[in-house]
Assembly symmetry: C2
Homo-oligomer: 239 residues x 2
Amino acid sequence: MTRQMRGGEAAGRPVQPSDTRRASKADQVYENIKEAILSGGLEPGVAIDKIALSERLGMSRFPITTAINRLAYERLVVIEPQHGSFVAKISAEDVRELMLIRRSLEAEIAGDAALRLGAEALAELERSLRYQEAAAAARDYAGFYALDVEFHRLIIVGAQLRHAKEILEGIRTHLERIRRLLLTPPGRLPNTLAEHRSVADALRARNPAAAREAMRTHLIETTVLFETIARERPNLFSA
Amino acid sequence: MTRQMRGGEAAGRPVQPSDTRRASKADQVYENIKEAILSGGLEPGVAIDKIALSERLGMSRFPITTAINRLAYERLVVIEPQHGSFVAKISAEDVRELMLIRRSLEAEIAGDAALRLGAEALAELERSLRYQEAAAAARDYAGFYALDVEFHRLIIVGAQLRHAKEILEGIRTHLERIRRLLLTPPGRLPNTLAEHRSVADALRARNPAAAREAMRTHLIETTVLFETIARERPNLFSA
DNA sequence: GCTCAACAACTAGCATGCCAGACGCTAGTC
DNA sequence: GACTAGCGTCTGGCATGCTAGTTGTTGAGC
């Protein structure tokens, strides 16, 4: 549905580059708190003090409340009425489920993309792969991770799937939080690169079934990684 | 992440039955407007007059604003800052994409459910199928539709997938809106019943691949139906 | 020492008033 | 007649104070 929306208002989605409108205060607070939660600055379970926050940021409680409502919708914050707002905890079970969703969606999208991607999009993927190779050679883990995210995003955007993009971004937000908390080691980098290559090959060949399978395989490997690490550090998860 | 949340506050999700807490005013307004949009009482594109609404419902603008923010997050409403809030329009392209998402997710979930569903959940599915047969025999289309929705929900809940449940409910909201606008004829009812039966059979056999395929086939048929109808009535869609 | 009820100190929810920005209309100009 | 500038009126965004509900505490009674 969705005419396009202004700079993130009433939604947690990234601002369209074409949208020159300034961000509202609620938008700023939203980004602010979200980043704090993702980075671990705000640990799971801690209460968010709206009044202190409003004083610190020099604004009224209204934008804070709006922002927290948004975060609650994304399940990054839990609101207990007449009691308080708290940073949502993490459960190990979520990893399994979020990856299941991501796996099924991205596999299907890859199949769709094999039929719909234009030459330009394919070229962009190819370029991304080159950068990934360079980052891998340079052992630039942070850079590679950013390119990894971008690679997946390119496929979704290329297939022109707005809703799926939003859903997957919401999922990635949660996975990103877990990833940062766990400090996922970048040991699988070469495998990831090879798997990306397989996906791109299938897309270029316009083979939907192969693209689906390649993406599914790739994300199964990622799931295994997540779950292995989660098992090694159970203390970070709540019941 | 998600401790469970109170009666829908800051989210558009259904109230947990275990949650006895009363709904806030914002919750009520949210349900109110949502139902109006889904039923077509509020047509795509019309402006929502917050002040008139607050006067009519006997409350301040605050709960209205909160509710509309929530609806904007769900893409049922579009907020144009300093200008107005409008009922979101519908695009034909959305049908394709929403069904793609639903198809991939529910297929994967069916595969998961084949491994995880307990005897009780399987029995519930069986009972649902009996009711569906009864509704089909009685030509009770509305009843069958409700059972249809319930059938899919049972599988998701049985697989204990909270996030997927929420995502799919959001998607169903949009599809439901389209369905009602289009007044989808119930002609495929016998086929639907047979397809449901196939899914349940595969689940009982604990065969993930078969369950995935059965669900995928079922939803591909549904997609075709949606798109056929959408083609016949293009005037209902915006560009 | 234990129980439980009353209270104090919080919170989110809500009401209300104001402000700034967007849009439509009109009047003035060419 | 067409166009544009400016003004009025609408909207959402925000500030602030109040209300009601939850929770932890404390102290009285046993």
